[in-house]
């Protein structure tokens, strides 16, 4: 997929009070779809080395479907958008990532069913997402999964929100911490997912789901920053 991303829908500008609205959520999806498409081959290559080589395909298929679904959908709240993302990913991604991201977005949608989300709200949303991943996948930090990106991301988001950060700042803190967390998977032995079959041979390679999580969180931060 090398088509340009759908143009961000014209919506209200940044809320002066520092909250995110449905327009942000739509911009986030557009950014995410683009960056996932751009990294399709790279993500599958990570997965080829320690998994079955389809993570990029799976994510690209899912976000292409999300883009198409969103074009036709009426959405009033951040939660509306995230719920559509959740159900679409659930029904198009397949593999492990489909139910995991699907549940993450579903839980996040549940705590963001309001017209505007502030810094603390962003933290709650990310926290709910992580809880969803853990509820389904039962992975802990250090198992070399997407949890290794999400867990530090949520911690950083908590700190930034407590410090009174704007949603954009909270998301930026989360994305940066996720990147560090994803990099930390390089040296881990996988204990969950397909990579666990490799045992020690999984060391020295980055977890693909952690890598795609960084892409999504970074897209969210950029969508907020550019607002």
């Amino acid at each position: 997929m090398t088509t340009p991303p759908a143009a961000a829908p014209a919506g209200p500008g940044p809320d002066p009070a520092g909250t995110l609205d449905v327009a942000w959520a739509r911009r986030f999806v557009a950014e995410a779809a683009q960056v996932v498409a751009e990294n399709r081959v790279a993500l599958s290559e990570l997965d080829r080395v320690i998994g079955d080589g389809d993570h990029g395909e799976n994510m690209a298929r899912g976000f292409a479907a999300v883009t198409a679904a969103l074009e036709k959908a009426e959405t009033a709240t951040v939660g509306d958008v995230l719920k559509l993302v959740a159900t679409t990913l659930m029904s198009t991604v397949g593999g492990a990532a489909g139910p995991l991201y699907g549940t993450a977005f579903l839980r996040a949608a549940k705590v963001s069913d309001a017209p505007a989300v502030d810094g603390q709200g962003v933290h709650s949303l990310l926290d709910a997402a992580l809880e969803g991943v853990v509820a389904r996948g039962k992975a802990q930090v250090g198992d070399k999964t997407m949890v290794d990106a999400w867990h530090p991301a949520v911690e950083a988001a908590a700190a930034a929100a407590d410090a009174g950060g704007t949603p954009a700042a909270v998301l930026r803190a989360a994305a940066d911490a996720a990147a560090v967390g994803a990099a930390s998977t390089d040296e881990l032995v996988a204990l969950k997912g397909r990579a666990s079959y490799l045992g020690e041979r999984s060391v020295g390679h980055r977890d693909p789901g952690a890598a795609s999580s960084v892409l999504l969180l970074d897209a969210a931060a950029r969508a907020a920053g550019e607002a």
């Binding site: 998994g51 395909e57 659930m90 397949g94 489909g98 490799l198």
Partner: protein
């Protein structure tokens, strides 16, 4: 990459269409990418549903028919299907006596079937699940994703299918499926990797004189690479851990399945079978049933797996029971 395909993205849908047309006496295709037994669900019979990523043909659609699966859900290549088609298959298989989901133990498959089972439950379809994990190449542990489901899945499907066909209720069919799962172990070897169409390059790298021991069926690399050895030596490397893990002892009876990974000549499978059988018999184990062929494949991968199922009279009888599917057919 050389393949007899049109569009890499359309491989699964075109292959399913071709498969269904070639076997229209046995199966039909539903709206979704679901292959169901021709004639629809059998009233009062427990329905059997299995599925998973494509690329393992004849698994699972090749086992839909009388005496085995009622519906199969082929996902994208090597990727678990999503809950929607699994739910559709579950509905199609339900004859009012509930449905057994036979799931290979991969995180993706487990999670998607889990979700589908929840959705079916919401529609008042009773679902039981057996998660097959016969691959001894992977250590089973509470702290990992656990052993994978590989070729033993066919035996779970066959034997549970016979139990359902003779009228056992859901709990009984599930218990028999679980008994098979607990009595079956497998291990595989790859001489070459396979190439997933949309990836366009081999799933792992092997030198001209290397083989990969303990591979899965999704083109995942195995536990270790070793230099190419003789068929008898390789067979020992596959069979020994299987026998050890099962704790087989002299006097027991087994079914021996030598499964091809898709690109292996039948003659080579027969050579592996020959040695595995000799070795089992030397250990005083009676090989009462045998299956040799391509049943759970990895596209065009060259390699094989050895599966041993501990038999008792009931499992033997259910294995022998009539079956009419595209890939297994006897007594019918």
């Amino acid at each position: 990459m050389k393949k007899l395909i049109n569009d890499p993205e359309a491989v699964t849908s075109e292959a399913v269409e071709g498969f269904v047309r070639a076997h229209e006496d046995l199966v039909v295709q539903l709206d979704q990418l679901v292959v169901a037994r021709a004639g629809g669900a059998v009233r009062g019979k427990v329905g059997l549903v299995s599925g998973g990523g494509s690329g393992h043909e004849p698994l699972h659609a090749g086992f839909v028919g009388v005496g085995m699966l009622d519906a199969a859900v082929p996902g994208p290549m090597f990727t678990s299907p999503t809950p929607d088609p699994i739910l559709a298959a579950t509905r199609a298989a339900d004859g009012g006596a509930g449905v057994l989901h036979i799931v290979k133990n991969y995180t993706g498959d487990v999670l998607n079937f889990e979700t589908a089972a929840e959705l079916a439950d919401a529609e008042d379809i009773e679902v039981a699940t057996v998660v097959v994990n016969d691959d001894v190449a992977v250590e089973d542990s509470l702290y990992t994703a656990g052993r994978r489901g590989v070729a033993g899945t066919v035996l779970v499907e066959k034997i549970a299918g016979a139990a359902a066909e003779r009228g056992d209720d859901l709990a009984t069919v599930a218990a028999i499926a679980t008994r098979v799962k607990d009595s079956v172990r497998s291990m595989g070897v790859a001489l070459s990797a396979c190439t997933v169409p949309h990836a366009g390059r081999p799933s792992f790298d092997l030198a001209e004189d290397e083989i990969e021991i303990g591979i899965g069926i999704h083109g995942e690399p195995g536990r270790r690479k070793i230099p190419l050895a003789s068929a008898d030596e390789i067979t020992d490397l596959l069979l020994d851990p299987v026998v050890a893990d099962l704790g087989l002892t002299a006097g027991e009876s087994v079914l021996l399945l030598v499964n091809g990974m898709g690109g292996t000549p039948a003659s080579e499978l027969a050579i592996v079978y020959r040695h595995a059988r000799r070795r089992l018999e030397e250990q005083g184990v009676a090989v009462r049933r045998s299956l040799v062929g391509n049943y759970v494949t990895s596209l065009e991968m060259q390699g094989a797996s050895v599966t041993v199922l501990r038999l008792d009279d009931e499992l033997t009888e259910l294995y022998d029971a009539p079956v009419a599917t595209a890939a297994l057919r006897w007594n019918l």
